[in-house]
């Protein structure tokens, strides 16, 4: 090797190493800055690197992460059809590593685990009942954990919290209402009226938390009375919670006229709510007493009396109008007027 070649090699190496030393912290700062803005995804976990196939690796190299994630998501339909849940979970691990800020993949992956895989385990006749229960519980927890991983990367997105809440409040799964309430509470912090009401509804289903539910309903009522009062379920729940004998003495008494347009309307809504609460387990307080009073006052026919005819799933307005055939007993104040 001639002197010139050696000199060139030394100079090139020294310059590249020297400038590399200077630019390294600059590049790292820029990377972290972009990562904070979510323009750059977090580093891919070591175990996910190991699971990636050639296509995914090519995607990471070529800057086509989102495209590869999308095509892998479509291809995962095969694992779903074949009920290959462990492979499906692995795939969604890669998909979410490639495109971690896309809520859809977290939502979809969690749904596969917590709903499809868990339902498969629950209804699998080839397994013993104990094994079925264990496997179902395992998939439910995996779905929950998957949603939570998504939340860790997308903390501003309340929909994944809602998914967790729905999962643990679903009567067809293994309901765990306190756990669901915790998730709904997180979603409700995002200033969404629907999420706030959902949190209230689940609180009203947990025995022993009726006073907390009443306080929360009052808070919602102060914040946005007209929007919340326009929802029948909200009005019925609020009315029932207010009849709780354990409420402190200073708690506001709520009259029917403050929540319903007429006594007929009140009866119809409370009748339907009673049927709903039998299914979902809402707190009903003195609902039956109130219904009995209304039955006498409005001379409700027996086929619309839940204590005689048994509760029907739901009665619609036209059925009531036809059956009662009497002028509406309107209350003086509309419940939708905000104070």
């Amino acid at each position: 090797m001639s002197f010139k070649t050696l000199r060139n090699l030394v100079v090139v190496t020294v310059v590249i190493l020297g400038t590399g030393y200077l630019r390294m912290p600059v590049e790292q700062r820029f990377t972290e800055d972009l990562r904070e803005k979510k323009a750059i995804p977090p580093p891919i976990r070591k175990e996910v690197w190991g699971q990636m196939g050639q296509t995914s690796l090519a995607g990471v190299l070529g800057g086509l992460r989102t495209l590869i994630a999308s095509s892998m998501n479509l291809a995962s339909q095969t694992q779903f059809e074949e009920k290959d849940w462990y492979e499906l979970k692995k795939r969604y691990g890669i998909i979410t590593a490639l495109d971690p800020y896309n809520e859809f993949y977290w939502d979809h992956g969690g749904w596969h685990l917590a709903y499809n895989a868990a339902s498969w385990a629950r209804s699998n006749d080839q397994l013993s009942p104990r094994k079925r229960r264990l496997l179902e519980r395992e998939f439910l927890e995996q779905g929950d954990a998957f949603y939570r991983q998504g939340i860790a990367l997308n903390p501003d997105n309340p929909r994944l919290w809602m998914n967790i809440g729905r999962l643990w409040s679903n009567p067809h799964k293994r309901p765990d209402l306190p756990r669901a309430a915790k998730a709904f509470e997180e979603a409700a912090k995002h200033d969404n009226l629907f999420y706030q009401r959902t949190y209230l509804y689940v609180l009203a289903r947990i025995p022993g938390r009726e006073i907390e539910a009443y306080d929360y309903a009052q808070k919602l009522l102060i914040e946005n009375p007209s929007r919340h009062l326009s929802r029948t379920t909200f009005r019925c729940i609020l009315f029932c919670l207010a009849t709780n004998p354990n409420l402190p003495k200073q708690a506001l008494e709520i009259r029917l006229g403050e929540l319903f347009v007429s006594k007929q309307q009140a009866y119809q809504d409370l009748y339907n709510f009673r049927a709903l609460s039998q299914e979902k387990g809402y707190y009903t307080g003195k609902l039956d007493e109130v219904l009995e009073t209304l039955i006498k006052e409005l001379r409700i026919p027996d086929h619309l009396n839940p204590f005689k005819a048994g509760a029907k799933p739901r009665i619609f307005e036209k059925d009531f109008e036809k059956a009662l055939n009497q002028p509406l007993d309107l209350f003086l104040k509309s419940p939708f007027e905000s104070n």
Binding site: K4, N8, V11, V12, V15, I16, L17, T19, G20, Y21, R23, M24, P25, V26, E27, Q28, F30, T31, E32, D33, L34, K37, K38, A39, I40, P41, P42, P43, I44, R45, K46, E47, V60, L61, G62, G63, L64, R65, T66, L67, D99, Y101, N102
Partner: protein
Amino acid sequence: MARGQAELAKHGPTWILQYGVIAHFFKACILAAVALLISTFSTSTLFTIAAGVMVWIIGAFQSIARDGLFVDSFAGETPSLADKILSTIISLIFPDFQLFESIADASVRAQEILGDDILKLGGLTLIYLAIYTVLSWFVFADKEF
């Protein structure tokens, strides 16, 4: 409805999408400069192409190596001494192409990229170009024809 329309419009041909094109262009410029530097040493075109491709591939992983030096990995594992030495060498020698890829990817996702970020990326590209071009000139100046 309006929110949906705005979301769709964000994924159309916006300025942010052009930033992705610019990021790819910057990356191509750096790769060309690297190829120029390699060609001053290499004795065949094939070697220049092969070495250029290797630099591109390693450059795509450079940020992972550098991340290991500056921040804890996502899995929370501490890199070993051998990992650290290898990461340092890779980080010092090779350009970080993942930065360019990520900006292009973010533009495809319609993620908010500021003009400021593109300026920074442009500055980084200029630095790379200056280093590799000056070195190429230095090596090539002594060549005899």
